[in-house]
Subunit: 395 residues, 2 copies
Amino acid sequence: MIVQKYRDMLGMKSVIREISGYATERGKEIGYENVFDYSLGNPSVPVPERFNKVIKELLDTREPIALHGYSPSHGLPEVREKIAAYLSGRFGLPYEMEDIFMTSGAAGSIAHAVRAVAEQGDEIITFAPYFPEYGPYIADTGAVLKVVPADTESFQINFEAFASMCNEKTAAVLINTPNNPSGIVYSTKTIEKLAEILKEKEEQFGHPIYIISDEPYREIVFEGVDAPCVSRIYDNTLMCYSFSKSLSIPGERIGYVAVNPNCRDAALIVDMCTQISRGIGHNCPSSLIQLAVAEMLEETSELSVYETNMNILYKELTALGFTCVKPGGTFYIFPKAPIEDAKKFCKDALKYDLCLVPSDTFGCPGYFRMAYCIQTEKVERSLEAIRKIARDYGM
Amino acid sequence: MIVQKYRDMLGMKSVIREISGYATERGKEIGYENVFDYSLGNPSVPVPERFNKVIKELLDTREPIALHGYSPSHGLPEVREKIAAYLSGRFGLPYEMEDIFMTSGAAGSIAHAVRAVAEQGDEIITFAPYFPEYGPYIADTGAVLKVVPADTESFQINFEAFASMCNEKTAAVLINTPNNPSGIVYSTKTIEKLAEILKEKEEQFGHPIYIISDEPYREIVFEGVDAPCVSRIYDNTLMCYSFSKSLSIPGERIGYVAVNPNCRDAALIVDMCTQISRGIGHNCPSSLIQLAVAEMLEETSELSVYETNMNILYKELTALGFTCVKPGGTFYIFPKAPIEDAKKFCKDALKYDLCLVPSDTFGCPGYFRMAYCIQTEKVERSLEAIRKIARDYGM
């Protein structure tokens, strides 16, 4: 009795994975350096050298049986304390250890957060364009994901559509800023407006509506961009963080949920996460990796390459006539395709070994995503291919 | 809208954790060396020295961005290949990479296995005494856990009760051998009989019934004990392994599901596990830790201490008149309490700073568990306390 729902999921291949797989195969034919692979959001900048040093130091100085020993379900107290102190210092909110729950990356973080506040029959609202994995994260809780159509002018929030979709079943709003795939950062004004509406709706419906704030790109914000801390603006916020992008260590699966200390049920939600873990077999990230990132809170990889790449692409794309909102962070850009059928456009681009991801699965058809977490030199070489496909489309 | 079911779970405190917490507190008063803490199944023997060396070698020789980079959802191919080769060599079954799915310890392993083969309305059967965390693992899938009463003569399987509980809703049988809490190892005869009944029931009901074989204690088997490989005897077996106990690294959260290559749907089940991961936010264990254990497959910690401890305790307990089946492995022993109310007995034992776990939550009341993963010297010092509580009970 193979469970059909998971079997069925296998049939729905991820478009991103498919294109990435094509890029790898094509690389075997013509050399991967000649494939302009903008498919995967896989960090390309080096891991900070100190990260490996910190791991070695832990191996050299800690008693192995303790170092590799069980962590409490919440995560290691010394790690949670350091993260709380760091967040307090940085965002001016009184985080304590009790507000922090360690997770296996952002995926684990969101999986716990949605289970803590939503169940069968509830609704969670997100905003297009959005990360397609939100679908399975939420489907598995029994809640329903509702998608607010994109505000394609600015990729901020379409508040009119949002206000009409928010109802008594709304348990949470899941936002991602800086955003994958648009690269846009929600402004202070946007978050304040969102908070204002949510507070009204909380009052109207008589129950809290949480913001689950997915923040893996928090450290990748470009010069001069207004990137507010969501938790500072809205009390009922569950911040979901991952070190994957800021330290270029996505394989180490490490992140946390930080519940806003001003959220009335903060410590209760964190305690509940330990119970959620029991059901989903999570039981903490690796102890060694927990301890290692706790020493790296003030540091990131050298992330400026992403802004360099963005500027090169943005300049070229707009010069060619692509409609494109300038990214404020991340390593994504999200131009409008020159025809309605973005899939066809992306397919055509492959003839120049240019691998783009059509936007349909992001809930915002007619666009394409470029993940420019690749070498700047390659971005520059790719411009000729971009020009060629633009020319084919009469741009 | 805090989700009530997780909130409720918080109210049901784990008895083991409660006693362990007591032991820690008492240790602060009288020195932890004077508390005979048999509560927690936390490995006490040293981590093999080579484990840290292997990690350092990986840090020194691999490109950091690849070493700490994304692992495919199945786990790293080179790791899965090594595990498949190891299992093939050891158990004589033709495992291939496609049969292996990397997980965060045994908890992650069982969480994936149960989701792959059971859903709402299905039943999973286990045998008392059993590890209480099976409850939440299975409840979260929507399936129902059915517990076959213990065969208290031998702690093998009560087949009569089992045969009558197995019905068309039975999706899987979850076994744990060597067993927590009894310490018993199921014999070849037991597994063969189980396989025989299951094959009959599969035929009768017209669908597969899987064995989910929880094997974290596989490497802790005592001299002369018949410890068969379940997968060799029954094709539809999902082996759930963890390195926590064999390498004393429970905090690193690393294990795997190995689907028997003779199971018709082996590769499909492994592929489905990747889809299950999407919903529960698992996405692989740490890449570094995956690569490290792949170099440690032929090694374990020096585990013989556990047998030494078992022999000391078994001798003393039986000499005092406790009814006790001799453990064949693990680091647990499971004697009968001298009164029906094991909770009272365990509470009384605390006056001698002897921390025992009453068996009620293991689905087999009237017994107590001792986790003798502690220093042998302390086991010896604890005998006087055991004698005292026995004397109080007129033994």
